[in-house]
Amino acid sequence: MISFILMVNKQGQTRLSSYYEWMDMQERVALESEIIRKCLSRSELQCSFLEYRGFKVIYRRYASLFFIVGTKADFDVRVKGISSDADNYENELGMLEFIHILVETMDRWAGSICELDIMYQLEQVHFLLDEMVMNGYVIDTNKSNILRSIDLIEREGNKNEGMFR
């Protein structure tokens, strides 16, 4: 399952974080800073997978923004026989692809997405993310499906918008 999704800029500031597995705040902060440091220290030529404290971290850089997805092997209750430690993760390439779709969807949603869009419409991005991932599992990867419901929800939200109600 996906344990967390982070969007971090090149200065190491977290722009968005979403956790699908409960961690306490100190842990989150420590994890973020360490993962980001690791991601930042890697060059373009290196592969986009990291193994860190039991997480398999998959990241991708778009312009100045890192999209980081942490997946975790579900604890295996079976006695480990022949299966290696590598199984049971989400498919790494699949996650890379997912990041790309996420970015494409956001791109279509905001016209041309940039860091500021995420900063100032944080909750919207969260909603969008919620449409794509729920509880650590990908629900939908169809751009128009996602955007349609986002759009509908948006309209629904604005319908009875008004100062006095």
Binding site: S48, L93, M134
Partner: protein
């Protein structure tokens, strides 16, 4: 969010969640998902139950004609999303029916969300899985692909926990595998089938073909990788019943290797990484694959020099499959060159991997052990691998005592390591441009080297004899023995600043003595065997004198150590040297010749005392025989004594309190008390000597040392009956026990003392063991203290145990609260507890058995309000007593069980309320329905809760639904009322 906790705003978030305005509500839900405290700990989660329920129900109210209420599905979507993030057991139980209902919702949007949410609910509330499995299965045939995909997702995850349950689904997935074109889903399906294979080996053969077909046909690299991975999972199981492999297996393996090779050789680093991971899992089932594909070996080796650490680590993991007897040397030398260049964590991994490769299967691959010793020495000189030091040291000792031919060489290398710590060694190394340029050694290696030199000190001449060995510790060194002595007795490290760790010092002292005895021996041998050509190294009088002097001088320093072990060993050794007639170093009268002769005279004694029988490998057969015989019976000291060669104690021939003139012991060795310092020198001698005999294998057997060390610290008065240092009639084992016990007092233990110590142990944060051992120790003491106080002590013990438990708990609590401050500790600790929780959840989920059909007691929890039907009749006179009894039982149960089911509790309360009303007219129908109804409902719930069946159930008429019961009860009530009317008419 953004690194700040917002648990303080939890209530506000819930408030906003219930706002009528959608825009606000959304934000509220978002806040709840992101920022709530851990759901189990958060009290506000309870508050959300009703709200979520309302939202979920709202989604079903869609007016199809007007289309009104369509927006409700988004409300529900929000609610589901939120639920999946904050699910707890109670929430799951309460909302499961609603969620299941949503699976039939017309909108796929809701269906897929509800499906995924169910997984989370099952994690928290595993019993729910049994109840809803059928519906999940139906979702696999959903017309909407994204719903099917979600269903696959959920079942994949569930199957990871307990694959057995999902075997019946295999055909359905097989169909999906061959028919679907959705790569996202195919990946999951492949994963799922892979996890089913270990449960059903026949599946493996079936899968191989379509999977390899997929490998050939697909363009998506992710799917390609997943398929190859699944094939590697299948491979171990493809064997047919008769043990033969299907014919196509070699082709399939070839295909896998080819694909993975193309991955590894790809310029894309991601694929390279995945290729290496894939090889890793392939090699587990086909370890010989790389031997037949030399080109892959080359590829993997190039990955070792990749700039990416992740890739290097993965490649490193593959190396152990590539090593053979022939290429090991090459491989290791390559790795060693990498060690130089590597840094940090990776360097440690490299070192570990090198050692693991060489030592695998009892050094199966190592052909030349002197080469391996060289490798170890090089590794020992690497900086920054402190954690691996112990591993290296162990290996080194292991090799030295297992492999006889290499011992001499190991001794030589040990000498090198030890001697080059000195200032003279440094100069030499610099001038001569010696190979170990920076001469840094992992500290753990030093004791190992010292031990080897001491243990095999007879081999020193052979080692030194070879060319090129630097044998000067500093300018004053007289020869190799002296240099070694200087090295071993220098209490500081090479720089002369930091003291060595105490355990190392202790080993050094002991081995310095061994080397000294060897040096003496060497001289004796020279004398005895004149002109023998095998004599290689002679220890001259000057050298021996210098050795003795260095030893005497430095042992005094060691004897002042604060570490009891070092102190004791040094003190014993010093006394031993005094007793054989060596003079303290300050004494300038001793000449080289006289000292040397003294030493030579004592050589036999020293060797006897200090050099144990060499350890020998025992053949596997002999070991098995020993194991069959069981543990050896404890050898009593008296038996052992028979083997003692008393002649070596020649210097104790004068009569002493313990030896008569012939050197025979008056009492026995065990009677000598180690605890009293006697002022006259003879007793000192005897004491030292007794210590010597008490530890036949000094370096290897810490027991004797520890006890004597402890004895040193125990105040004199505390040892009972220590008259003149002789303790007649006390079994050595008990005295050892007592002496070894730091808490030992000769009277009954004072409770305050006990309290203090156990408390201390509890507070230390090492909760369990420390306290327990403390108590048991006191247990021993109280038993010793005599019969009359036994009961008393027993009670005390109990109390203490209780206290210890309490303290233990306190200790844990304290440790927890301390964690708040300590960032790192808390992180690791919490991480582990979190994992534990998860693991528990998974384990619970795995326990759910789906193969058996739903029993009658598997009923969906209902949350409907119970409407009391017409009063069922109860026969007052007959049923009264029974009911009272039952009522009592029920109440007991109610109080014991937490109010988990308010509705059921209400039901029982209501139903039991009738007897207060009281029916005067005896109803002709048996009054059974009401109580049985209650008990059947109860039993259903009890089972759900995993409780036992209530013992008081009479005639368990199992009725599935409470509605049926209600109907029955209603009927009965009607009949009863009719009869009552009749009676009144009459």
């Amino acid at each position: 969010m953004m690194g700040y906790t917002m648990s303080w705003a939890a209530f506000a978030a819930v408030e906003v969640m219930s706002s009528p305005r959608f825009a606000l509500k959304r934000v509220g839900y978002l806040a709840a998902c992101q920022g709530l405290d851990q759901p189990e700990n958060s009290p506000v989660v309870l508050l959300t139950t009703n709200l979520l329920q309302k939202e979920l129900r709202g989604a079903n109210v869609v007016d199809t004609t007007t289309g009104k209420g369509g927006e409700n599905i988004y409300h529900a979507g929000l609610a589901i999303n939120c639920l999946s993030n904050i699910a707890t057991e109670d929430l799951g139980q309460a909302l499961l029916p609603e969620l299941l209902h949503m699976l039939n919702h017309p909108s796929p949007y809701i269906r897929k969300k509800a499906l995924l949410c169910l997984y989370k609910v099952f994690l928290k509330y595993p019993q729910g899985l049994r109840l809803s499995y059928e519906k999940i299965k139906l979702c696999l045939e959903d017309p909407h692909p994204s719903v099917v995909s979600c269903a696959v997702n959920v079942i994949t995850e569930l199957a990871e926990k307990n694959p057995k349950n999902y075997l019946p689904l295999a055909p359905a997935f097989f169909k999906l595998l061959t028919s679907s074109a959705n790569n996202w889903m195919l990946i999951k399906v492949v994963k799922l089938l892979g996890s089913l294979v270990p449960e059903e080996p026949r599946l493996a053969r079936k899968l191989i073909d379509p999977l390899s077909g997929m490998v050939k046909s697909t363009h998506a690299k992710s799917l390609l990788y997943e398929s190859v991975h699944a094939i590697t999972l299948c491979l171990p199981y493809v064997k047919k019943a008769d043990g033969s492999q299907p014919a196509n297996i070699p082709d399939v393996v070839e295909l896998c290797v080819e694909t993975l090779r193309s991955f590894v050789s790809d310029s894309d680093q991601n694929l390279k990484y995945l290729g290496l991971v894939g090889f890793g899992s392939l090699l587990l089932s086909q370890p010989r694959v790389l031997h037949s594909h030399p080109e892959c070996r080359g590829l993997i080796l190039t990955c070792l020099s990749d700039e990416d650490v992740t890739i290097r680590t993965r490649a490193l993991g593959l190396l152990k499959f590539m090593a053979t007897k022939r290429n090991l040397v090459d491989l290791i030398s390559q790795l060693l060159s990498h060690v130089e260049a590597a840094s940090g964590e990776y360097r440690c991994q490299l070192v570990e991997e090198i050692i693991r490769m060489c030592s695998s299967n009892k050094y199966e691959l190592v052909m030349d052990f002197s080469w391996y010793v060289d490798v170890l020495v090089i590794l020992a000189g690497v900086r920054g691998i402190e954690n691996q030091g112990e591993m290296i040291a162990k290996q080194w000792m292991d090799v030295a005592w297992r492999v006889l031919p290499v011992r001499c060489y190991a001794v030589r290398r040990s000498l090198e390591i030890l001697i080059c710590r000195g200032p003279g060694g440094a100069d030499e190394a610099l001038v001569g441009g010696a190979k170990d340029g920076d001469r840094h050694f992992v500290p753990e290696v030093l004791p190992a080297a010292a031990w080897i030199v001491g243990e095999y000190s007879q081999l020193i001449p052979d080692g030194v004899d070879e060319e090129g060995l630097n044998t000067t510790f500093d300018a004053s060194s007289k020869g190799p023995y002296h240099a070694l002595m200087q090295a071993l007795t220098a209490p500081t490290d090479a720089a002369g600043v930091n003291p060595l760790p105490c355990p190392t010092q202790a080993v050094f002292v002991q081995n310095a003595m061994k080397v000294f005895s060897a040096a003496c021996q060497r001289n004796v041998e020279t004398q005895n065997s004149h002109g023998m050509s095998l004599e290689k190294l002679v220890c001259s009088d000057e050298e021996l004198h210098a050795c003795a002097e260095t030893l005497m001088k430095n042992l005094v320093i060691y004897a002042e150590s604060t570490d009891p072990e070092v102190k004791e060993r040094a003190f014993t050794s010093y006394q031993l040297l005094l007793s054989i007639g060596l003079l303290p170093s300050s004494n300038s009268f001793a000449t080289a010749a006289s000292t040397a002769s003294t030493c030579r005279d004592a050589a036999a004694t020293l060797t006897y005392l200090l050099t144990p029988e060499p350890m020998k490998p025992i053949s596997a057969k002999a070991q098995k025989r020993l194991a069959a015989e069981g543990p050896p019976s404890p050898v009593s000291v008296r038996d052992w004594e028979k083997g003692v060669d008393w002649d070596v104690f020649w210097f104790a021939k004068e009569e002493t309190p313990w030896f008569d003139k012939d050197g025979n012991v008056k009492g026995s060795v065990e009677n000598i008390s180690f605890t009293k310092h006697l002022s006259n020198s003879t007793s000192g001698e005897v004491k030292a000597e007794a210590m010597g005999t008490a530890e036949p294998i000094p370096a290897m057997q810490p027991f004797g040392d520890v006890t004597s060390a402890a004895a040193e610290q125990v105040p004199f008065g505390n040892i009972s009956n220590a008259t003149a240092g002789v303790n007649i009639g006390q079994a050595p084992s008990t005295s050892h026990h007592r002496v070894g016990d730091p808490f030992y007092l000769n009277s009954t233990p004072s409770p305050t003392n006990a309290l203090f110590s156990s408390k201390g142990a509890g507070m230390d944060g090492g909760p369990g063991d420390a306290t327990n051992t403390a108590t048991t120790r006191f247990g021993v003491l109280t038993l010793d203290s005599g019969g009359e106080s036994e009961e008393d002590s027993g009670r005390k013990q109990k109390k203490k145990k209780k206290k210890a438990k309490k303290n233990q708990r306190m200790g844990v609590a304290i440790a927890d609260s301390d964690d708040e401050d300590d960032d790192h500790v808390s992180r690791t600790k919490r991480g582990s507890t979190g994992k534990g929780d998860r693991a528990k959840e998974y384990a619970n989920l795995a326990l759910v058995d789906l193969t058996t059909p739903l029993g009658e007691d598997d009923v969906m929890p209902r949350n409907e309000h119970y409407v009391v039907p017409n009063r069922p009749p109860v026969r007052a006179d007959e049923g009264h007593q029974k009911q009272k009894k039952k009522k009592k039982d029920k109440e007991k149960k109610k109080s014991s069980r937490k109010e988990k089911h308010p509705t059921t509790a209400a039901v029982t309360g209501d139903l039991l309320g009738f007897d207060a009303v009281g029916f005067s007219a005896p109803a002709p129908l048996p009054a059974a329905p009401a109580p049985t109804l209650v008990s059947s409902i109860n039993s259903a719930f009890d089972d759900l809760l995993g409780l036992e069946m209530p013992p008081s159930v009479e005639a368990p008429t199992l009725i599935q639904h409470s509605e049926a019961n209600e109907a029955k009860a209603g009927k009965a009530a009607k009949k009863a009322s009719k009869k009552a009317k009749k009676k009144t008419k009459q």
